[in-house]
């Protein structure tokens, strides 16, 4: 079922989701984390509900491309959102058999702690609207959590003084060398 239709069935407008939220696992993220055991969990806090998403690899399609399984859960109670490991799903892939159920079960178990952690952060810091269990490396839009690492190239505090001393020393050496060569 197309995402837009599935979401509208449960009263969520696709356009209300932040652009950083993705279905499946983006290739740049997969390249870093890779492996069959990797699960990407995301939590999106909307005005009237919480959308919880977990995605994992689910094999290859007939052309050899990775296929992902994503489970979406929409919780109406924004404050006490949690995941139920045993809940049944409203929609499932057409023709999905026992292997899908087993994969969902395994994915839920792997993601359980991560999701609860994200829900806890979300309830403590309501300014974070989109939380993800992994850095979304290479993506144009970044989730609010985890915060993107800021690399500060300027030294601070004690390091700043050491850098100034080093520059001064370098200047003296260059001056001495030039004076000698004259």
């Amino acid at each position: 079922m197309p995402l837009k239709k599935a979401l509208s069935e449960v009263g969520v407008d696709l356009s209300s989701l932040p652009p950083s939220f993705v279905i499946g696992i983006p290739e740049p993220v997969l390249k870093v984390h890779g492996g069959n055991g990797f699960v990407l969990s995301q939590v999106v806090r909307l005005d009237n509900c919480i959308v919880i998403s977990t995605s994992c690899q689910a094999g290859l399609d007939k052309s050899g491309r990775h296929v992902f399984l994503t489970e979406l859960t929409v919780e109406e109670n924004v404050e006490t959102g949690s995941i139920n490991l045993n809940s049944d799903y409203k929609f499932r892939p057409v023709g999905a058999g026992k292997e899908i159920s087993d994969l969902v079960k395994e994915m839920r178990e792997i993601a359980f702690d991560e999701i609860n952690n994200l829900l806890m952060i979300s309830s403590r810091f309501s300014r974070y609207k989109h939380l993800s269990s992994s850095q979304m490396i290479g993506m144009r839009y970044q989730p609010d959590w985890p915060k993107k690492k800021v690399i500060n190239w300027l030294p601070s505090g004690g390091n700043y003084a050491i850098m100034l001393m080093a520059l001064l020393l370098m200047g003296i050496v260059i001056y001495a060398y030039l004076a000698k060569s004259r």
Partner: protein, 267 residues
């Protein structure tokens, strides 16, 4: 081998015949004076595209990543994960190989790589198209053969999306006034087999024309008042080196000419 005349892109049958005929070797063609003159003219036109911003959109597995890889002079991926969301692509130089000439170089600014699912069209294609001068919309021609109705429906929906977003009918996304839409019927790799097996070129050319004509009619109808954006529907193979070089050169030359015309009219 058929006489390698160089037709206008409007004449798709002749163009397809040309592609099949010259599959035996672009080098050989470029040695012929007439062909050489045409190529030189074509590449001069392509120069007009330098500095233009390009966007690549299309349904899942239509060849977007492969085209971007080609333009970046990287290996065309044989299998990978489907693109999801909107990925950042660092700026890169495009060196387009030209048989018998220096490569043509374009600058691609920092851009985005978008997924092809319908929800991603609604959420992310606008990012790719907003600043673009030329948009390449890719259709897998083999899917058009296998799943005709479904593929044509998707093409209609995509082009309708393009018109609505471009004209600012749904929110704030407005495309550039002189934006050009080049529809690429990708994966015509079967040309290669045709050449090898000496199959009736006229029959294949006509069949391909029927397919591209269908896409063309749908695109024109879906674009409506924005019909001037469309430059044409072009056959292309991204994975075959010779076919790609030849066909994409011709596409760029045609798009450049139509962009120039639009630019002149706009002034």
């Amino acid at each position: 081998m058929a006489d390698p005349k160089f037709p206008k892109m409007e004449n798709v049958v002749a163009f397809i015949k040309l592609a099949i005929a010259i599959y035996s070797g672009v080098e050989e063609i470029s040695k012929k004076t007439r062909a050489g003159d045409f190529l030189a003219k074509m590449f001069r036109r392509m120069k007009g595209l330098e500095g233009k911003r390009i966007a690549v959109i299309g349904a899942t597995a239509s060849g977007k990543n492969s085209l971007i890889a080609r333009l970046r002079s990287e290996m065309v991926p044989t299998a990978h994960a489907q693109t999801r969301g909107s990925e950042t692509v660092k700026k890169y130089d495009i060196r387009f190989p030209v048989p018998g000439h220096k490569p043509i170089e374009f600058k691609a600014l920092k851009s985005v790589n978008v997924g092809g699912e319908e929800d991603e069209r609604d959420r992310f294609w606008g990012d790719a198209c907003r600043e673009a001068d030329i948009v390449f919309y890719l259709v897998d021609i083999n899917r058009l053969i296998i799943e005709r109705e479904e593929t044509l429906k998707r093409v209609r929906e995509d082009i309708t999306w393009f018109r609505i977003e471009g004209l600012g009918g749904r929110g704030s996304i407005l495309f550039k006034q002189n934006i050009k839409l080049a529809i690429i019927a990708n994966k015509v790799d079967f040309f290669k087999e045709i050449h090898k097996n000496d199959i009736d070129i006229d029959a294949v050319a006509s069949a391909t024309l029927a397919l591209t004509s269908e896409i063309d009619a749908i695109a024109k109808s879906a674009l409506g008042p924005a019909i001037s954006w469309l430059t044409g529907v072009y056959p292309l193979s991204i994975i075959d080196d010779d076919l790609f070089t030849l066909l994409f050169s011709a596409i760029l030359a045609d798009v450049a000419e139509k962009s120039d015309e639009a630019g002149r009219k706009g002034k």
